[in-house]
Amino acid sequence: MAQIGERAAGPASGGLEIRVDRKVFPAAGSRPAQQVLRNIAIDIEPGSFAVITGPSGCGKSTLLNIIAGLDHDFEGKVTLGGPDTKVGYIFQSPRLLPWRTVYENIALVLPDGDARHAQIDDMLRQVGLEGFGSQYPERLSLGMQRRAALARGFITEPDVLLMDEPFVSLDDPTAQALRELLIGLWNRRPTTVVFITHDRAEAVMLGTRILRMSGSNATIDQDETVRLSPSERTDRDKVLAEQRRIFHET
């Protein structure tokens, strides 16, 4: 029998077991109750980069919020790595504290007294924000705010990193630069990633595994392994060929 909204710590560090039997948004006002997710069962290996893809509004973000423990109102069970599993979440909007500087935003996610200056400076350098630590987020471009959000996500060295379309509303070169940055950060420090996007090319370029969702009251329709080596991921033609294979595009 399904347990209600349970989120537990399992044995393997960084691995995920996701079981969402049913997720319903309750009726509110004139809007009737709406079932958004059904029969979802995903096991994610530690250290893999899983991309969940599907059209807008199919419930991808809802699923990610359930995995993150922000939403407990579902039938099923989510098991995350070990008892001390650290989770990072990079949201669709950067969600930086506008009244704290970039440096303070990153330092705040570290445990008190653990905010090492050199470590934060190094992270700022890695994401290309060297010299911007003392700036307030709203004075930066969206692309730079997203870099700061990436830095905040990686600084805690999370066992599981959840990412919800973190590169939307950017122009293509900026988004591409950030994808390459993400690949670099992930190669340097592999962690289990669950990445959500509706952009097929982005899914293929980043993921080691692609899970497709579709329609309303969605479930996982397709589960594919991406056959690309790290060097092939920045090659547009290779990515396009793999995208055609996985998504049966002609």
Binding site: N65, L70, V87, Y89, S93, R95, W99, R100, V109
Partner: protein, 262 residues
Amino acid sequence: MQRLNPTPRASVDEPWQTRVAWGLGSLMGFLLFWEVLALLIQHRHLPPPTVVFSAMVREAESGELGYHIAMTLFRVAVAFVFAMLIGSAIGIVMGRNGRIDQAFDSWLILFLNLPALVIIILCYVWFGRTEVAAIIAVAVNKLPNVAVTVREGARALSRDLAEMAHVYRFGPWKTLRHVTLPQLAPFFLASARTGLSLVWKIVLVVELLGRSDGVGFQLGTYFQMFDVSMILAYALAFILVVQVIEFAVLQPIAARVNKWRR
């Protein structure tokens, strides 16, 4: 013909010297207008500013002015702090909890519309003409305003940032200090600024009706003597003090709270 370049609006981007010069110039203009008016009317119930200032200086030299202003300021400060603390707490609770908001909304409206004079009279009747009664009366007058303003802020707290703080395990103290309070700061500041001017006006009434010191008490005394110079001297002196608080305390705090804005 259409004007393409209207007179620029005075803005905070101007150098402070320009702003101060305009402020002083405007003030001088008013004093000049008053002086001329008093000269034309020639009545002892409209003394010119020069006479008022000499009355102010005399009262200051005798130590009376300083003493009564200090007493009034003390009452303003205590009542202000209580009203801000309790009003903010009520506002936050009502803003975060819909049920409590529903249950007590009409109470708030009642207190918001209760005339200041009624609260003052009731406090003196119930608690006697004591210092405590005076301060309670002032605080209760201001409190509903603070609660309503802060409630708006608490209703608008960002869920996005709360989720971020939860995922990154901020804990209650870090969340309060870095996520919640900065969002409420503009609302605290707004109620502090409107509060200061409201509170000192009510304190004068409280002093007039039931205290034997303070600016309000002095105004009552000089009213009985029809000494308009002295009444104006006290009023102007206190306006000056309130302005100093505004410039020296509230504005620097506002600048600090808003420095992250674009």
